[in-house]
Symmetry: C2
Subunit: 318 residues, 2 copies
């Protein structure tokens, strides 16, 4: 029975480390049973998304467990921000060859920090032996019919980007990227942007009923904007000089690199002031970068100084 | 852009292969956006569980993709059966080193077959490059407060097992286990039990308000019964001769091997007839195997012919 107890103990230690983030509003039954039982406000709809991070592919193998924990919840939660959903619950499936109690507790510690930052309860999960990877499924909710999709943008609308781009990408140049624990990360540094992305949750909720479409920038603006334009059946030319840049980033890199987890969104011209108010209230820039147009061949084009330019595609999963 | 389009195309081909199983009741928004938007009947609660299958650990590496597809949804859905939940939605995260269109379409075909069998809509997912594994998160629902947990069993109640045990375990002896496609599996064969387990969904729903506790037998009855007894704070002695066996299985193997995905459940003595009716209506035996007792040291003990015996623990995840 020694090994079975070990697995048991490991889960108990993880849940103990999650503390308050393993119980919360709407959680009728949390970790420890065959499934979790969850409630959302009457009249709301569930918003669900899943993301997998693979070691040596989506983050450096051997990276600090607490940083992996934070980042794994953040990247999944960013999809809720893009939908305008209120974050609520997550399940976490952890696979590792040698899952020690120490590693698992550090992972759970980083996860709990992120859960507190985002207002998410960890309601269940799975542990398995195998090549290291983490799959997080996040659950949020919106009032019925209020979720923001990729497909609602229309010609004549304005395209915006939140925050600044290119910061997280700069972190990839740090050859010690995998050696940073959360506590060592300096405020607003590229490393902090990489390991502790801040999904634009409050902005997303504020954009309900205002934005016509949104997508989170996970793979890079060049790819993700293309997804939004194709889903909405519109075109645009984005001037590289209009892109809000993280200090030290170049526009060509910033639009092709992912990991920033900002939002791209579209909205009619007549809500321009509302969007400016929202940006000010939350202290996050929302920058207009193009106007959408009818296009027989939907997608995003790029210009610089009035000339068409080629940009690299974003992160390739295959 | 060739690689980005490839990923796009791959997802499109998977969704195309899912056909009707990628849309269904309660799905406001299905695959293709940042997240899915879902609805369940008013007054119901969400029931959510996640499971990961790792190649070479939970199934033979190189196994037929359609068989992996079916099994990955089945094992996750079995947790919904144990909760008495009506199955509804699933997200699927697929990781593989060389995810070809052919492999992905076969995987999606098996997944779709299972989704149809269980009444589940595939509402989203993720694909990533990395060592082969599949994580499925399933979502079901029950009327408020009606979910069956592991912790509700009481002393004096009767412990039951559905169906028969040991069938799937026999398949592990087949050295060609990984070479079977779904269409080649013979009805009621050990191989079919292994690759196409049938979660006891109708029984689970029928047991709402009748069973005081339930758990699905995924790791083996010896482990899973121990979980139920500990969660409920009760003890029991199970006689090996009382275990309903698949033809050709021995009791000692059957209780220690997982993969059958039957249910263990507890219920008060006075609903014995109701349970017998339920078994008859669904054509699935529900066999009483022990009576629960107060126990200062909760857990399951084992006897044979009145003598205490040692059984092996179930599947060890670590």
């Amino acid at each position: 029975m020694a090994d079975a107890v070990h697995e048991f103990e490991l889960i108990e230690r993880i849940v103990a480390r999650l503390r308050d983030t393993a119980r919360g509003d709407g959680v009728v039954l949390g970790p420890g049973d065959d499934a979790a039982v969850l409630e959302i406000p009457t009249g709301h709809q569930f918003v669900v998304s899943t993301d997998t991070l693979v070691a040596d592919r989506h983050y450096p193998g051997g990276a600090c467990a607490d940083a992996i924990g934070y980042r794994s919840l953040a990247v999944a939660t960013s999809d809720l921000a893009a939908m305008g959903a209120t974050p609520a619950f997550a399940t976490v499936s952890l696979t590792a060859e040698n899952l020690t109690v120490n590693w698992a507790e550090h992972y759970a510690g980083g996860l709990a920090t992120a859960a507190r930052d985002f207002g998410i309860t960890i309601v269940g999960g799975n542990i398995a032996r195998g090549p290291e990877s983490v799959t997080v499924t996040v659950h949020g909710h919106t009032p019925g019919g209020m979720a923001i999709t990729r497909s609602g943008a229309k010609p004549g609308e304005v395209l915006y980007v939140t925050g600044s781009l290119g910061g997280a990408g700069l972190a990839l140049a740090d050859e010690n990227l995998g050696e940073w624990s959360l506590v060592a990360l300096k405020e607003d540094s590229p490393l902090k942007r990489y390991w502790m992305p801040r999904p634009r949750l409050e902005l997303g909720i504020g954009l309900r009923g205002i934005a016509s479409a949104a997508i989170d920038i996970s793979d890079g603006l060049s790819s993700d904007l293309d997804h939004l334009c194709r889903a909405s059946g519109v075109g645009c030319d984005v001037d590289l000089d209009a892109i809000p840049l993280y200090a030290g980033a170049t526009a060509l890199d910033a639009v092709a690199m992912g990991d920033d987890y900002e939002l791209a969104l579209a909205a009619p011209p007549d809500v321009r002031d509302t969007i400016a108010d929202l940006a000010q209230r939350h202290g996050i820039p929302i920058t207009p970068i193009a106007t959408l147009r009818k296009d027989a061949n939907p997608g995003a084009g790029w210009t610089q100084g009035g000339t068409l330019v080629e940009v690299r595609p974003g992160y390739r999963h295959f």
